[in-house]
């Protein structure tokens, strides 16, 4: 196939993929390193404006979503922190929206222009009560295109907020890409309620998701509720029906995971598997390429649907004698997500803060590990 090279950055691809997937409204509050995304968004969406703070952002996109638009925003940890209660609201209301999270060095304000992968456990536990919202992670520039699109489709199909997890170095670096390698993106389609019967807003179909009607429709009354509610969308204390409705929100995300589970697995039939995500995947790819050229086989696994963390991935991981987890944070968040507090002896964590983990650091760890193996 002929090549069609172009210089693009991750921010541009993400915004274009959002728009092509059907996102038609974008609200944000300026924050580094999400600003390129925000800037591109000003030229790409019919509804685009900046809100005065991130709580307002999350409320405005919720309002847009309830009124039938498909909204997105982009932020970093300080902004996400302000949005958490509202994202819980949107989850409970079952409003689709895409939140692009550009990770940067923390804690607190940290360094706005230094990348990091420090927010995985935060997004894993964002929803109070033991629920997940789907979190997608981009492992290279091409993922900024199709993983973004998958995130949008998942958000619409499951009627839930989703997070697209990325980081500074991924979205503020320009790359050569071959435009001919970008697959076609389809618009995500809402499953609207079409019957003449009375609309029961939270009565789910067999896929655990209620058909949607916007607040702008003139045919059926719509009740949307952030508090504990039953199928009718009216507030209820913890009645059986209301708790059943709340549990369904967990069920839809977990049971339908196979519809949106994406990962990249290169099985080299080795003893060692490296698991990584986001920006550290790229250093891992280079490290493994070097090791392969020197006759050393290493398998790799890059989860792209990272939350919920699928049992299918656990099975792959379990089939290896030794596992190495590479991520740019202090104590190994993916490792904690998989194993809890105690890291098993056959797991090596490669962690760092302040700059990207380099291929040579990974190679060094692999060499150490192969001596023990």
């Amino acid at each position: 196939m002929q090549t069609n090279y172009s210089l693009v950055d991750g921010s541009k691809l993400i915004v274009e993929a959002l728009a092509k997937s059907g996102v038609d409204a974008f609200i944000s509050y300026p924050i580094t390193p999400a600003n390129w995304i925000n800037q591109y968004a000003t030229k790409r969406f019919p509804i685009m404006t900046f809100a005065p703070d991130e709580i307002t952002v999350a409320q405005w996109i919720s309002g847009l979503s309830a009124a039938g638009k498909l909204p997105a925003t982009a932020t970093s940890f300080p902004g996400l922190a302000l949005m958490i209660e509202s994202i819980n609201m949107a989850f409970m209301m079952e409003l689709p929206m895409i939140i692009v999270l550009a990770q940067r060095l923390g804690p607190s304000t940290g360094s706005a222009t230094v990348g990091a992968q420090g927010d995985l456990m935060l997004v894993n536990s964002l929803i109070s009560g033991g629920f997940n919202i789907p979190v997608f992670s981009v492992s290279n520039i091409y993922d900024c295109w199709d993983i973004t699109s998958k995130a949008v489709h998942t958000s619409v199909n499951l009627r839930t907020p989703v997070i697209l997890l990325t980081s500074k170095e991924m979205i503020m670096t320009s790359y050569t890409i071959d435009l001919n390698k970008l697959p076609e993106i389809n618009r995500a389609e809402f499953n609207y309620y079409t019957s003449d019967e009375v609309y029961i807003p939270y009565q789910a179909d067999k896929n655990y998701v209620p058909p949607f009607l916007p607040l702008t429709n003139n045919k059926h009354q719509v009740r949307i509720n952030s508090s504990t509610h039953d199928e009718t969308g009216t507030i209820k204390k913890a009645t059986k029906a209301a708790i059943g409705n709340t549990i369904r929100l967990h069920t839809k995300i977990q049971r339908r995971l196979n519809e949106y589970l994406l990962y990249e697995y290169d099985n080299q039939e080795s003893d060692l598997l490296i698991v990584s995500y986001d920006i550290s995947s790229e250093a891992t790819r280079d490290a493994v390429k070097f090791l392969n050229e020197n006759g050393i086989k290493v398998s790799t696994l890059f989860p792209k649907t990272i939350i919920p963390f699928s049992k299918e991935l656990i099975e792959i991981i379990k089939s290896y004698k030794h596992i190495m987890i590479v991520e740019e944070n202090l104590s190994g968040l993916l490792s904690k997500l998989i194993y809890g507090i105690e890291t098993p002896e056959n797991v090596t964590k490669v962690n760092k803060i302040g700059s990207m983990i380099t291929p040579s650091e990974i190679i060094k760890e692999v060499e150490k590990c192969l001596q023990i193996c």
């Binding site: 210089l7 409204a25 509804i47 709580i55 309002g63 309830a66 209301m93 320009s174 509720n225």
Partner: protein, 419 residues
Amino acid sequence: MSSNMLIDKNSPYCPGCGHMNVTLNLAKAIDSLEIDPLDVIVVSDIGCCGLIDPSLASHTIHGLHGRACALASGIALAIDNPNKKIIAIQGDGGATIGIAHLLEAARRNFNLTLIVNNNQIYGMTGGQLSGLSNENFQHENANIEEPLTPFNLIELAKSAGATYGCQLIGKGDFTDYLKKAINNNGFSIVEILEVCPSYGYQKYSEIENLGFKTYEFENKRNPFRLYKNEIKSLINFNESKVYFESNLDKPIKIILAGSAGEGIQSAAELFARAAISCNLNVTKKGDYPITVGTGFSVAELIISPNEIHYTGIEKADVLIAISQNGFDYTKTKIDDNTFVIADSSIQNLISSNKLTFDFQKTFGKKNSAISSLFTLLILKNIFPPEAFENSLHESKHREKFIQLIEKIKSFLSEINHPA
């Protein structure tokens, strides 16, 4: 007469609660304006006043504490139709926690009505004071601090740009005010002073004794409209391209280091585009302080015949330093194998593998970056200089580059070509 808007006449509130009269007045206002309840979207806050939903035939959306006005604003952003009526209902507690939201809604003049049920206290949580509690309000919690003057919501909203506002005592029939608010094509705020028999005042006379009076304002302004941008794809899939040949056989890592205002990032971008026109892979990233207008400006470029994954540069193959700031910032990334091209002004340039040129003197601050990159292409076989020339020709600053290219060519003809 039966109401279209009110579908449950039973009060969800405590007996005698002021919220019920607001509910009845709101339903009556909608009925008498002959608005289809399904053209109405009621956005209710947390607090006792948020129990209103089941009473109404309209659409209802029940959100977070203090955010009803912001949620309603989001809905207003989606709707470009003055016949749709968005009505947010908050208490004095909700209005205080979300005060920035109502100021922003007023400033933008979003087409919605905000009703603030001010009964002077937080009812649902046991009667705490809010930022809207009157300084003379008598209550058991009132003595925990010096009495404070409350916010004047109506004046705040007015100064922020609201187009209708009214404060009233919530007894009897006040549908006329609600009708004006709902009919206003823009942001309206109605603050209703109320009783809360459980924690606050029992009688409206007690509220009147605090000195509240009914008053209203109007202010003509256009409602919020989004500026309609022309929307087009950010990626041109059918860009026509000129292609050049390169025989680069392994990756080369280049750092271009200078200062803010020297066009470092745009020169690196044009260089990257040139590399792409030779079917090479490139990554480019910028590094600069948060104050982009001062200090160093550094661009890192990796150019490779193969796909590039890791985009960092631990040790550079080439460092081009055109001013001191950038050199000082990047000098830890060079070793004996790094080929250094530097402006002759750079101090402390300890490298066994360097060439210096008068870029700044010859080309000035703005053009040294481009000139030095051309020099690199003459000295090292990365891709043909013609590709870079073409990239400059294709840029939006084409005119100013034509002369520059001539000047660079004559400058370079005087330097020794490598073997």
